[in-house]
């Protein structure tokens, strides 16, 4: 992801959020993506580390989503750059939070949420009880340290199963694990990390 002076290592889900944010800004007739658009992207994707924080803190996500949409639709921007200066600061902050941990999953959506709490949309987040950045940052760290998260950089696969039954996918995953055993490793445990739709409309 290219930003002026920044080379960001965004997680896949964070990349999706940013894409949703870009699309949303465009739909609202803006060429500049803002922090509010990023918050919209986080709300829209509806899963991830930030969502776990929402759930743990019993945030009313439906109302927050509605307010975010209202905020982005009324937004007036003086800037002409692709990303607002506030948004670039958010990514810098998120990167700092991400760098606190010695792992390679990249900047998670949880880090983005914490960074947004330092930004010009902090007022909206505070309205919903998201006031303590360090508390949320700690929660995100805890989520990232759940048992399925490891100090090992994961092997990341995205699979479009097509019409294949789970057994077929299992056969492929199992063979990859066998290869690791043949390379003297202990085998591989796979976990589903995300589910995405390939189509724009699901119904």
């Amino acid at each position: 992801m290219k930003f002026p002076g920044l080379k960001l290592d965004l997680s896949i889900r964070s990349q999706h959020c940013l894409k949703l944010a870009k699309d949303h800004a465009k739909q609202n007739g803006r060429s500049t993506v803002t922090t509010a658009d990023l918050l919209f992207g986080l709300m829209k994707i509806g899963q991830g580390m930030h969502w776990l924080a929402f759930e743990e803190n019993k945030i009313n996500t439906e109302e927050l989503f509605t307010d975010t949409k209202a905020l982005t639709s009324d937004l007036q921007i003086d800037e002409t750059a692709e990303y607002s200066s506030d948004l670039i600061n958010v990514f810098k902050t998120a990167e700092r939070y991400s760098n606190r941990r010695n792992k390679t999953l990249g900047i998670s959506t949880g880090h983005l949420l914490v960074a947004l709490m330092h930004s010009d949309v902090s007022g909206l987040l505070e309205k919903y009880g998201l006031t303590d950045q360090e508390k949320i940052a700690s929660q995100v760290e805890r989520f990232l340290n759940e048992p399925w998260q490891t100090r090992f950089s994961p092997l990341r696969l995205v699979i479009d199963p097509g019409s294949a039954p789970p057994e077929v996918i299992a056969g492929i995953l199992s063979d990859i694990s066998t290869l690791y055993r043949l390379k003297k490793g202990s085998g591989i445990t796979f976990e589903v990390q995300g589910v995405y739709s390939l189509n724009e409309v699901l119904w």
Partner: protein
């Protein structure tokens, strides 16, 4: 390469899997894992690539404005997650069942030959799934971990 693939059916989901070593406390596991990623990732990337499709994929909620539709989308996503989480569980059982077989095979043929055969079998499975079901696999992320090197003897401090 993507032009060879069958078009995915409607209402298709993409499943993101993360794999990590089963026994992370085994001696030398971290360096074995790093060597494996360095070796396997380029090979997996060569075999299949979803690339742009994945980056362009839309999340299910994108089109959902009404809560009813949102719930429906969530249900579909949840069902897909459940179905393909099952694949990971089955894979784990298959893998465990193969441990003894591998030991026997290694008594009869050199490890390099065994690895080569396993690669060919996997390649065939990927190709067959692509032809029969339109399945596509993409390895994402760094082939070589970018984190600061940590030795197997020195455990990482999560607060570092």
């Amino acid at each position: 390469m993507s032009s060879e693939w069958l078009e995915p059916p409607d209402n298709q989901h993409l499943i993101e899997y993360h794999g990590a070593p089963k026994d992370q406390d085994a001696p030398g596991e971290e360096s074995k894992w790093k060597r494996f990623l360095k070796w396997a990732c380029p090979w997996l990337r060569e075999k299949a690539n979803l690339g742009e499709d994945f980056l362009a994929a839309k999340v299910a909620r994108e089109q959902a404005e009404a809560l009813v539709k949102l719930a429906e989308a969530s249900e579909r996503m949840a069902n897909a997650r459940k179905t393909y989480a099952e694949a990971a569980t089955i894979a784990s059982k298959l893998d465990a069942a193969k441990v003894e077989t591998i030991k026997q095979v290694l008594k009869e043929q050199p490890i390099d030959v065994t690895i080569q055969k396993c690669q060919e079998e996997l390649e065939d499975k990927i190709a067959q799934a692509r032809l029969l079901y339109g399945t596509r696999i993409h390895q994402i992320g760094e082939a070589v971990p970018t984190s600061p090197e940590t030795s197997d003897k020195k455990k990482e401090d999560p607060k570092a």
